[in-house]
Symmetry: C2
Subunit: 463 residues, 2 copies
C-alpha cells in the first residue's frame, strides 16, 4: 500500500503561492514525495503582475492577459488543483483545517499562506456599505485595472485625476494618467517619495512638476466632495481640489485576518502588529504552516531587521524556497537588502528612481555612525549624446567603512545602477569595495570612473 | 633650511600619468611632503579619451576638445610642470635619470611610467619609411581621430571602409563608418569578438550582418592592394576586397622600449615578454620606479593571474592609487575582474555587449570544474514596450559553486547588467549569491526574477 499523498493547501494564487506550488511539485519529483497540491484563491485571476497595472492603465500594455504570467489552465495542467473564488476565513492549526467563506472545511497536512496584501482603502473613500464612491479606487488587482480603464474612458479627455499618495504606485499612476492626457494632482501627507532621502525625493518632485503634475505636499486627505455617490473633489485640512477621479495609493496591508484566531490561540503562529508573518528562510512560520510573499515581512540583511516590503521579486524568491523546502529540498531565501526601483517618464521627462540598503533614519536606528553624501554626474561620458544627469546618494559607516545605502535618481540607464551597490550590500562590503571594484566602462555607458564609484569614493574620502 | 622637494618625473600624460600626478599633489598637501612633479609627454595632447575616438569619427562627438578631460593649461595651473613633445628613450635606474630623444638627461627621485600602449601597425600596412600607406591608419590617438575625419571627408559618400580586427575598437569603428554612410567590411582572423564565448560573439556577428556589414571571419590579412602609395584593397590568404580606407584595429602594445636597458641591466625592474610591467597594488615596479595604465598588466582577482587589459578605467584607478602611495598615502588598486563593455548601434540594430570574469578557456587553464549555460530572456517585463531580447552566459565552478564569469549580449539596458555580476566576482561570491541576491525589479527594468538571476539560477541547478 502506497502512503497517501501529502495534502498541501496553498491560500493565494499569485507570485508567492504559485511559485511555491510549482517548485514543490518539481522538487517532489526529485525527492520522490507524493504531493496533492490544492490552491484556494478568493479572486478570479492567478499569477498576474500587479506592478504592471499602471502601465496597462497608461495604454502601454495591450490587455490584462499580457499581465498574466500563467493562466488557471496552465496551473491545472501542471497538476495543481486550483479553486478560484474561494475565500479562506479561518484556520484551525490543531485540526489542520481551513474554513472557506462558504463554510467548507479543507484539511491539510501542510498549509501555505500566500494571501498577499490588498490595497488600503481609507474610511473617507467608502460609502456606508463599504464600497468605494464612484470614481474612486485603488490600483492593485486586475479588477482594479479594468475598472480604471472604464473610468478613464468614461471620464473622457481632460479629466482631472487626483492621486492620493506619492509612493511607487502613486508616481506610476501619475505617469499613466498624464500619458492618457489627464490633468493630474498628486497629494501626499509627507514630502514626496518617502523611500528616498529628502534630497533625492526633491528631484522626483521637480520632475513631477516639470511634467505638469500639480503636487501638494504635506496634505493629509480628510474627505471627498461628492455629487450623490460620485466624487467631485478631494478635501484636506485647509484645502480642496476638484477631481473627476481619485486614485488611492496609500499602501497595502497583509491579508491575514483568517489567522487572527490561530494567533490568539497560542499555536506558535505569530502575527506582527501590522498583521504580517515572519517566515524563516525556508518559509516556515509554525508547525506545518508556511508563508511567503506580500503577507510577510522580509529580513533585511544589513541591519538584521524585519521590514514590510511587499514586492513581487521577494514573493517569487521566497515562494520558490518555500516550495522546495516543503518538498524536501534545501533552498533558502536569505533576506534582502531593500532594493527597489521605479521610473517617472512622460514626454521629455524621464527619471529613473532606485534605492538599495538603509535610509539615514534606518542607519541611525541601527546605531551606525553614518556618513552620507550626494554626488552628481552623468550616465555616460560627458561628450556622448547619451549622457544624462544622475544624482547618487551614498551612505557608509564611519567605523567599519561598510556600505550602508545607495539611492539613485537620474536619466536613462540610471536606475539599474543600484544593482552593483545591492551586490556589495549583499556581501557586506565596504564603500571602498564599491569605489574600487571593476564596473563596466565605455563612453556610451559610463564615465571613466563610473559615477557610482565616484560617489562612493567621495564618501570613502570623508570617513 | 627646508629639504629639497622630491622630484617626481611622470612619463606619459594620459589617464594613468595625470591621475597619478594630481593625486600625488593632493595627498602631498595632506602628508606635508614637498613634491616637484614633471610630466614628459611625447605627444601634444593630455588626458584625452581614446575610447571616445570612434564616436568622434561617427560624428557624435563635436570636436577633439570634447574628448580632453583636462587641458595642458589646467594641469599646469595645478602646479604640474608639463612638457609636451618630449619623448623618453632611455632610463638609468641607478643614476635615476631618463634620457629624452633630444638627448636631455632628466633626473628624478621617483619615476612614474605611464606611457600607455600605442596601436599595433603590421608590416603590410607600412611603407618602407615606416609610415602607413595613404588611406590606412589606426584608432588610438587624437591625431589618429583627426586623420580619420579628414580621410572620411575626402573619401566622400559611399566610400568603402575595411576594418581589420573585430575587437572592441573594430566593432566601434564599424558602427562609426556605417553611421557616416560608408560601406563596411570587417575582417578578422578569428570567429568574431574573441573576448566573448563563441555562442555570444555569434550574436554580435549576426547584428553586424543585420546592419549591413560584410563580415569575413577566419581571414588573416597578408597585404594591401595599392595604387602608388594609396590603398585600394586588402588581401588575405585566398581572398581580397576593394577598399577606399583601411582601419587597423588589431590591438595595442606597451610603450616600454625605453626600459629595455634597465630590464637587461638587472635593476629589479622586469618587463614581461610582451613588454608590460606588473606593478604592485600601490603601483611600485622597482625601487623608486612606479607604473600604471596601459603599459602594465593588471591582476585578475578571480584566478590571481596577470593579464593585459589596456582600459581607461583601470588606468585611472591604478594611477590614483599610485599617486597617493608615492606621496605617503595608502590607497591600493586591488586588481580587477575582467569587466568590459561596448555596443554596436546603427539604425534599428542596437546591441550592448559586456563581459566580466573568466572565459571558458581561462577557467580550464585555472583548473576549475566549470559549468556554463546560455540563457535568453528580456531586459524588461515581457509585456512592456521596453522589453528587448537579452542573452546571458553564466559560468560557475562545480566544486565551490563560485561564480566564474558572465557575458551579456542584448538590447537597451543589457550591457550594464554585468556590473552586478562583477560585484559578486569582486567579493568572490557564488552563483547562488547572484541568483538570490536582491536586484532591482519593476516592469520597465526587469522581469520579476531579473534575467541575470534566472541565468544564474539555471546554472546553480546544474551544479
Amino acid at each position: 500500500m502506497t502512503p497517501a499523498p501529502v495534502r498541501v493547501v496553498v491560500v493565494g494564487a499569485d507570485a508567492a503561492g504559485m511559485s511555491a506550488a510549482h517548485q514543490a511539485l518539481r522538487t517532489a519529483r526529485r525527492t520522490g514525495r507524493e504531493l496533492a497540491v490544492t490552491v484556494l484563491e478568493r479572486g478570479h485571476h492567478t499569477s498576474y503582475s500587479a506592478c504592471g497595472i499602471p502601465y496597462w492603465m497608461a495604454g502601454e500594455v495591450g490587455s490584462a492577459d499580457d499581465l498574466v504570467a500563467r493562466t488557471a489552465e496552465q496551473h491545472r495542467e501542471a497538476g495543481i488543483d486550483l479553486r478560484l473564488g474561494v475565500e479562506v476565513v479561518d484556520a484551525d492549526l490543531s485540526a489542520r483545517t481551513v474554513t472557506t467563506s462558504g463554510g467548507e472545511q479543507v484539511a491539510y497536512d501542510e498549509l501555505v499562506v500566500a494571501t498577499g496584501a490588498p490595497a488600503v482603502m481609507p474610511d473617507w473613500a467608502l460609502r456606508p456599505d463599504g464600497t468605494a464612491y464612484d470614481g474612486v479606487g485603488t490600483v492593485k488587482t486586475l479588477d482594479d485595472g479594468a475598472a480604471w480603464l472604464d473610468r478613464l474612458a468614461g471620464a473622457g479627455d481632460g479629466a482631472h485625476v487626483v492621486v492620493v499618495g506619492a509612493g511607487y504606485v502613486g508616481v506610476e499612476v501619475a505617469e499613466a494618467a498624464l500619458r492618457r492626457g489627464c490633468g493630474v494632482t498628486v497629494l501626499t501627507r509627507g514630502r514626496g517619495m518617502s523611500m528616498l532621502e529628502d534630497e533625492m525625493s526633491e528631484r522626483v518632485n521637480l520632475a513631477l512638476c516639470d511634467a505638469g503634475v500639480e503636487l501638494v505636499l504635506g496634505a493629509e486627505v480628510t474627505g471627498l466632495a461628492l455629487d450623490g455617490d460620485r466624487v467631485t473633489g478631494v478635501r484636506w485640512d485647509g484645502g480642496s481640489r476638484d477631481a473627476d477621479l481619485v486614485v488611492v495609493a496609500i499602501g497595502v496591508r497583509p491579508a491575514t485576518e483568517f489567522l487572527r484566531g490561530a494567533h490568539a490561540a497560542g499555536t506558535g503562529l505569530r502575527l506582527t502588529e501590522g498583521g504580517a508573518l515572519r517566515p524563516d528562510p525556508h518559509g516556515r512560520v509554525a508547525d506545518h504552516v508556511w508563508a511567503a510573499g506580500d503577507c510577510c515581512e522580509v529580513r533585511r540583511r544589513i541591519d538584521d531587521r524585519w521590514v514590510f516590503r511587499p514586492l513581487g521579486t521577494h514573493a517569487a524568491k521566497h515562494g520558490r524556497a518555500l516550495g522546495d523546502s516543503l518538498a524536501g529540498g534545501s533552498l533558502t531565501f536569505d533576506g534582502m537588502v531593500d532594493t527597489s526601483i521605479t521610473r517617472f517618464s512622460v514626454g521629455e521627462v524621464h527619471l529613473e528612481i532606485a534605492r538599495t540598503g538603509l535610509s539615514r533614519a534606518d542607519a541611525e536606528e541601527a546605531g551606525y555612525d553614518a556618513v552620507a553624501l550626494l554626488t552628481e554626474g552623468t550616465t555616460a561620458s560627458g561628450y556622448m549624446p547619451e549622457a544624462e544627469p544622475i544624482a547618487l546618494w551614498v551612505m557608509a559607516d564611519r567605523t567599519t567603512r561598510r556600505l550602508l545605502g545607495v539611492q539613485v535618481v537620474g536619466g536613462h540607464g540610471a536606475g539599474k545602477r543600484v544593482d552593483a551597490a545591492a551586490a556589495v550590500l549583499w556581501h557586506g562590503g565596504t564603500v571602498d569595495d564599491l569605489a574600487w571594484m571593476d564596473l563596466a566602462y565605455a563612453p556610451p555607458f559610463a564615465t571613466t570612473w563610473e559615477v557610482l564609484q565616484v560617489a562612493a569614493r567621495r564618501v570613502a574620502e570623508r570617513l
